[in-house]
Symmetry: C2
Subunit: 555 residues, 2 copies
């Protein structure tokens, strides 16, 4: 069929770091059979999404084409790749594929949302292949900051696509498979039509460093510490957690894991067989009985999360353990942009306790899990694809990655979320723009980012809220006066007068002069009362609050 085409459509991840969701399709235009690669979350913040629990790419486009969707493939177990599988699954209802460790997490994500974990299919690595409509997909092992990360080799009638997932070129990742150049070269041999490639570290100018380089420095730090040592990192960075634990053990310290995610990840690593030789650990209860200088805690909360172990320890006791003057706290991690304030809150609280904090400022105690600029060039050159399609990054990363590919003599296509590329020809071509968006998990409910719910919350946070109540009798006359209730507004004016009184006075003055046309029309009356309340508040306190008007008519 000469009209068949191979398409690519990022629904998430190509415009942000987080919430990855990439669609590939093959077939006649508008009738392509589809697969989805990854379905991850991103995290809310007070600026744009207060009160929201999780965010993932709106899969409405796929949902409407569910009959054409063959399968979902998860590249690795990071939240921004697998975290939304349980949320999105009821909307998509197709088989999900993942390697064992990743599948373990995906199954848990399904269970958490009341979905059937058996929908997760465990698959092996290359050369094993999964058939999904016109696609054949294989998991190509690659190094990253979590075990079992894989690129996907996606064979299609139009040629081979290699979708890197998140990766780095680490010959010694300590846990999980190393980057195997020979294997990747073998994959590239028949020709790679498109390399869809991780972009997060395109601005990092130096070659990435191996996980194995950290051991000696961490060991030295822990050995020299006179009192208790506490270290934090992403729980999913199992190699790092093991390095930290080994440094503790080798310094004669008992090791205690704190935080649910930390313990769960290590268990999952052991269960799935990717993690071996993890040092013996003790419980928090046991730790409380051990001299502080013989103790090492490995804790959750590297991003300053309030409820994680690090956050709780920075505010006092946690599980019977507490930090004291002269203890050492190591951030074996990088602060993700946007989390600076949260992390610094923890650091300053630790400083107030007299705890010495060490972070990654001097590059000694942390390495990134992503390919840096020279590493990206290495992959470009090794794979020699017909084109590079940068993915996973903010717009600035994608754009820079396009430039880098050009420097390497390769075609490249800039495709932010919603840009459908036709990959069939020699050069990718944008053929359509699809509306994309974000779905919020808000408590137990999924809402659209643009539904207005969160916008209203932000407005209340900025402006406060006024309830105006009014009762009207059968003759449309006010029963008593209008009254107001305030939330999130100053009670008194600079002159000392209660704000509520001033608002009520203005409302009553309006009501005393309002004509029948207004008093008989709830919509009109509500609108007018809202305007009066807002205008008066603006004059008096310089803020325009959100207003709820409650009009009750005695029938």
């Amino acid at each position: 069929m000469s009209s068949d085409r191979l398409i690519y459509l990022p629904l998430g991840g190509a415009g942000e770091i987080g919430m990855n969701a990439y669609v590939y399709g093959y077939g006649a235009p508008g009738k392509e059979r589809l697969i989805l690669v990854d379905i991850g979350v991103t995290f809310p913040n007070m600026d744009t999404s207060p009160g929201v629990d999780l965010i993932y790419a709106d899969v409405a486009w796929l949902e409407e084409r569910r009959d054409r969707l063959e399968a979902i493939f998860i590249t690795h177990a990071h939240e921004d790749h697998v975290g939304a599988v349980g949320l999105a699954w009821p909307r998509l209802r197709v088989p999900v594929y993942a390697r064992p460790f990743t599948a373990n997490h995906a199954a848990r994500k399904m269970e958490e949302r009341g979905q059937d974990p058996a929908k997760i299919n465990v698959v092996g690595a290359w050369p094993e292949r999964i058939k999904a409509g016109p696609f054949e997909v294989a998991y190509l092992p690659v190094s990253h900051s979590i075990p079992e990360s894989s690129a996907l080799v996606i064979d299609t009638p139009a040629g081979r696509v290699v979708h890197t997932g998140d990766f780095k070129l680490d010959p010694t990742p300590l846990v999980g498979e190393p980057f195997d150049r020979g294997l990747w070269a073998e994959v590239a041999k028949p020709g790679v039509k498109v390399l869809t490639c991780d972009s997060t570290n395109v601005f990092s100018p130096n070659p990435g460093r191996s996980e194995a380089t950290l051991g000696p420095a961490i060991r030295q730090l822990v050995e020299r510490a006179p009192n208790m040592v506490v270290a934090t990192t992403f729980a999913s960075n199992i190699a790092r957690v093991r390095t930290l634990a080994e440094a503790g053990r080798d310094a004669g310290r008992s090791v205690c894991l704190l935080g649910r995610a930390m313990r769960r990840m290590i268990e999952a690593g052991v269960e799935s067989g990717v993690l071996t030789d993890f040092p013996a650990t003790i419980s928090p209860e046991q730790a409380a009985g051990i001299p502080r200088s013989n103790l090492m805690l490995i804790v959750t909360g590297s991003q300053g999360e309030r409820r994680a172990a690090s956050g709780q320890l920075s505010r006092g006791k946690y599980m019977g353990l507490e930090l004291k003057e002269g203890d050492l706290f190591l951030f074996s991690s990088k602060t993700i942009p946007g989390n600076e304030r949260d992390v610094l809150r923890v650091v300053n609280a630790l400083s107030e306790m007299g705890v010495d904090v060490v972070d990654d400022a001097n590059d000694l105690y942390h390495v990134s899990g992503h390919a840096n600029r020279p590493d990206l060039s290495t992959i470009h050159t090794l794979m020699r694809p017909g084109a590079v399609v940068p993915m996973h990054g903010e717009h600035r990363h994608l754009r820079e990655h396009v430039k880098l590919a050009a420097e390497n003599g390769l075609h490249a296509a800039l495709a932010p979320n919603g840009t459908m590329l036709d990959l069939t020809g020699d050069v990718p071509r944008a053929v359509e723009h699809v509306e994309t968006g974000r779905t919020y998990l808000d408590g137990k409910v999924q809402i659209g980012a643009l539904d207005g719910v969160v916008r209203d919350r932000i407005r209340m946070a900025m402006n406060g809220h006024v309830t105006v109540s009014l009762i009207l009798d059968e003759e449309d006359e006010p029963v008593g006066e209008a009254w107001v209730e305030l939330i999130g507004l100053p009670e008194t004016l600079p002159g000392g007068e209660p704000l509520a009184d001033v608002l009520e006075e203005a409302l009553d003055k309006f009501l005393s002069r309002a004509d029948d046309r207004v008093m008989t029309d709830d919509d009109l009356l509500e609108k007018d009362l809202r305007i009066i309340a807002r205008r008066t508040a603006e004059n008096e306190i310089g803020k325009r609050p959100e207003v709820t008007v409650v009009i009750s008519r005695l029938a």
Copy 2:
């Protein structure tokens, strides 16, 4: 009087970067005559202070002792040192002193808040002295990122205090006075009892670089740019603005200043005589008629502020000017921690336009205005004070600065906000803890950070808001049913039922069974209705909203 003492009390700035406010006192305990050094602001954020306009140190302690307050001294014209003068003045009502350029800004701050700008007294630099009760204060010029920055030499009966203000050791600051080692040595000669010292850059390991080092790199960048160049920096960094403007002029470009603060600062610099030889500028209207490759814009908004020129240009036209593919945007600035998300929003919007963004990542286009760690050591060694009191910094900075002073063989005292030090003896001694806090400017009203107003707003932002209304007749029976209005909550449940209906049903069920004791007691009834609404919402949507209950009784 042998019982007289010299005290130091930071009300703000010793626990954060921002809102500087330091008290010195001399006299009998509890009767000290007082002076205040600096009265600056810090900026709100959505996480902790949504809707707030400005924040400054609560001066309640001083306000209660106003009869003992002699004067306010402003070290320099940065917002975090002078920004609250107009807000705090009505509470303190004493003369304010500043050098001319700083006084110009202080006077404007007074006018903005309806205060008399004549309360600002213009003073000259060292050796001029201002007498204020038992104190004699002189302005010792020093380099920083704004002209006319000064340390204060505070002579007291107990000895000399040098309060550095913000500073760096720059022999060639381009605008404003260089650091004059000889002058500082002269000040130190009679002996310095205490050095109260800027701590912000104590973690920066390398010696600070001079403002003058930036010119060549900026010039080269601007010269090589093929299309329009836009540069942003803090408007108050007049030296930088001139360097940028000169680079534009020398590359044959017309220079246009965009943003009110940018134009105002340059005007103030010229008026006060600190700025000379600023290149000719053109208006936005003129700029619109000039070929893009001959144009350079210098704009406000280096921190990603939405309403600043950079923010507006990142979203489209501003003052008739707009960015296009191939233009260059230079951040000649550092992103202040906490502003990362805002700055990246601008950067990504520019990326979408095809604009090339250059920032300070490679240290070519920005230098800090503060003394780095080795520079602090230089000052320690030069002044050889009896003790160092670190100020202006988060707790972690103050603590590290204490360590650095110890490394340099000096006594040092850690004194976060509220710690009153007795400086009289050989070593500073903490003698009292004073409750400190933050005052919020919220629209036109000043409120306390702990008044609950902002807390309620944050709760509404997290949880949404429900209004519950109920009318009761003379027999305490409901007239009709309870009804609810929602803001910031999903309208429908996952099953499709309206949330409002479900809440109303639960409330009515409760009301149908409520006994007289409840129905006759507004407080009890209100409490019960709130609990029902919250509990039902939590069950249905997993959120506990804020609830306003309005009960109307027909008398």
